[in-house]
């Protein structure tokens, strides 16, 4: 019906339907409110328009009851909308378990995407349908924003930290990728495509351009190249903490606090190691801020994460390929 003038973009993720449902509800509610107010106004201005018969306006002070009514009723409706919106937001922000990871680096003015399997792409992202995908994103210059209208998702990409986003594409196809946070001259050129493929096709695609080696493997060689193993030894305690089984687990710090070693923690511990010193160690690690580019950082983070032994009953690697070898949980 709306082929030439659509009112919403295609629904290509599990989130899109939820967002659209709330949107349509809000549109109808607004339409109803507008029509009600406008009709009231039109009726008043025609019925009570100034006439020559000398009829005068009737002075009315106001009505406390009405004031209360039109404060409380909208408040109730607002709270309903708030709760509904908050539920969707929670779904968007809380990551599902067993999710495949892709690293995203925004820079003026392109998107660089690193698959865990080693594929690298620029301004184009291939993903399988019906698989939860987590994007671990950072920027190497200014703030960008990763926006896929057909998935109804968006997240700012902030330099100096990771932000994350997840989605589950439902429809194979090609979709817009926009940068929606103004980032300079070619902001409107910082666009790309999300190519959603059937899992089998995706498998085939993965095998085509794998000349790079997996992200973690690249991280491992970078790790060795930078001399990290001199302190971070794999078996016995060196001058730095052992890194296996760090990711995702609580770490006790020198100042007595405990933090969970998430992506941001590992990243920070590389670029600015003294920010959070692990209990029992000295702040002797050199600062890697400015020495590594964002893609190298992603490789190192992926490597550290790969040092975790696979948890029982779960997929052994965050990679999409590994997940595909196992039957999908619907």
């Amino acid at each position: 019906m709306f082929e030439n003038l659509p009112l919403w973009p295609a629904r290509a993720s599990t989130m899109a339907g939820n967002v659209d449902l709330l949107y349509i509800f809000l549109v109808l509610l607004s339409l109803f409110t507008c029509v009600a107010i406008f009709i009231t106004i039109v009726v008043f201005v025609t019925k009570y328009r100034r006439r020559l018969d000398g009829r005068e306006a009737q002075q009315i002070e106001g009505s406390v009851l009405l004031e209360i009514a039109w404060t409380v009723v909208p408040l109730g409706i607002f709270m309903l909308i708030f709760a509904w919106g908050a539920i969707i937001y929670f779904q968007e922000r809380v990551l599902p378990r067993d999710v495949a990871e892709i690293y995203v680096v925004g820079k003026q003015w392109m998107w660089k995407l690193q698959h865990v399997e080693g594929q690298r792409e620029i301004n184009q992202l291939h993903v399988p349908a019906n698989r939860d995908i987590k994007l671990i994103m950072t920027s190497q210059d200014v703030i960008h924003s990763f926006f896929v209208p057909e998935f109804r998702i968006k997240q700012d990409v902030v330099p100096g930290r990771y932000t994350t986003l997840w989605f589950r594409a439902t429809q194979p196809g090609t979709y817009h990728l926009f940068c929606s946070q103004y980032c300079g001259t070619q902001h409107s050129g910082m666009v790309g495509q999300i190519v959603v493929m059937e899992p089998a096709q995706y498998q085939a695609w993965l095998t085509t351009g794998g000349a790079f080696g997996s992200l973690a493997a690249n991280g491992a060689s970078l790790f060795a190249q930078l001399g990290c193993p001199t302190c971070h030894q794999s078996e016995m305690q060196g001058r730095g903490p052992i890194l296996s089984e760090v990711y995702g687990n609580p770490v006790r710090l020198e100042d007595g606090q405990t933090v969970v070693a998430d992506d941001n923690y590992i990243r920070e511990s590389i670029v600015n190691p003294s920010a959070k010193i692990v209990s029992g160690f000295k702040p002797i690690m050199p600062v890697f801020q400015g020495l590594l580019n964002e893609e190298q950082l992603n490789e190192l983070v992926a490597y550290v994460k790969s040092l975790n032994p696979p948890p029982a009953g779960s997929v052994n690697s965050p990679g999409i390929a590994a997940a595909e070898t196992k039957p999908q949980q619907p």
């Binding site: 600015n272 003294s274 920010a275 010193i277 702040p283 600062v287």
Partner: protein, 236 residues
Amino acid sequence: MSDSPLLVEHPEHDNPALLHHFATPEQQRNTASLGMWLFLATEVMFFGGMFCAYLVYRYWYYNEFAAGSRSLDIWLGTINTVVLICSSLTVALGVKAAQLGKRKQLVGLLLATLVFGVAFLGIKGIEWYQKYEEHHIPGHSFDVSDIIQNYPQIHIDPSHSQIYFSLYFAMTGLHALHMIVGIGIFAFLTYYSWKGKYGPEYYTPIENGGLYWHFVDIIWIYLFPLLYLIDRKPLR
């Protein structure tokens, strides 16, 4: 406008200090006073933005802030605090003198305030010059290797140190700017006090100038511990 009927309306209009749009001197004084208080409220918000930035970064980069704080000269800072408190005292006494119509005393107290104010800026200038010599002023020649050497036991990131010194200079600089404005106001007030413009019937400018001075003083009372006294206990 001298023949406007409005002027006849007010019997008090022989009072030269009463502006045309006020009915009574009392209304004029209350008006000026409320204006001053509101202005100070905006000043609080003005510094508030910086205090907010300070809080965030002090929480994140405590080591650098503590080490930076220790590199400041606590004696000069303390002397300056005393100087400013004394100046507030002379201002308060000055307002009293104006209310009582003691012209000579008023002029003397205002002059004393001016001296304290200039002394504060002088001492602040010495401190800044020291920082300049130590290359602690943010910018291209910023260098905190001396601080890093002093505290081998904690890790100090120079760029985080720079944030501390940036805030130090921004906050004390903004405060000094307010001091300079205050000294200008007080020079003006001193001149007119000497001319005998203020007395028991009309001392609003002295009172409001005093409010401003106290405010600038209070800002320093906050800046001093926040910038100088972050962590003065000797390091283990």
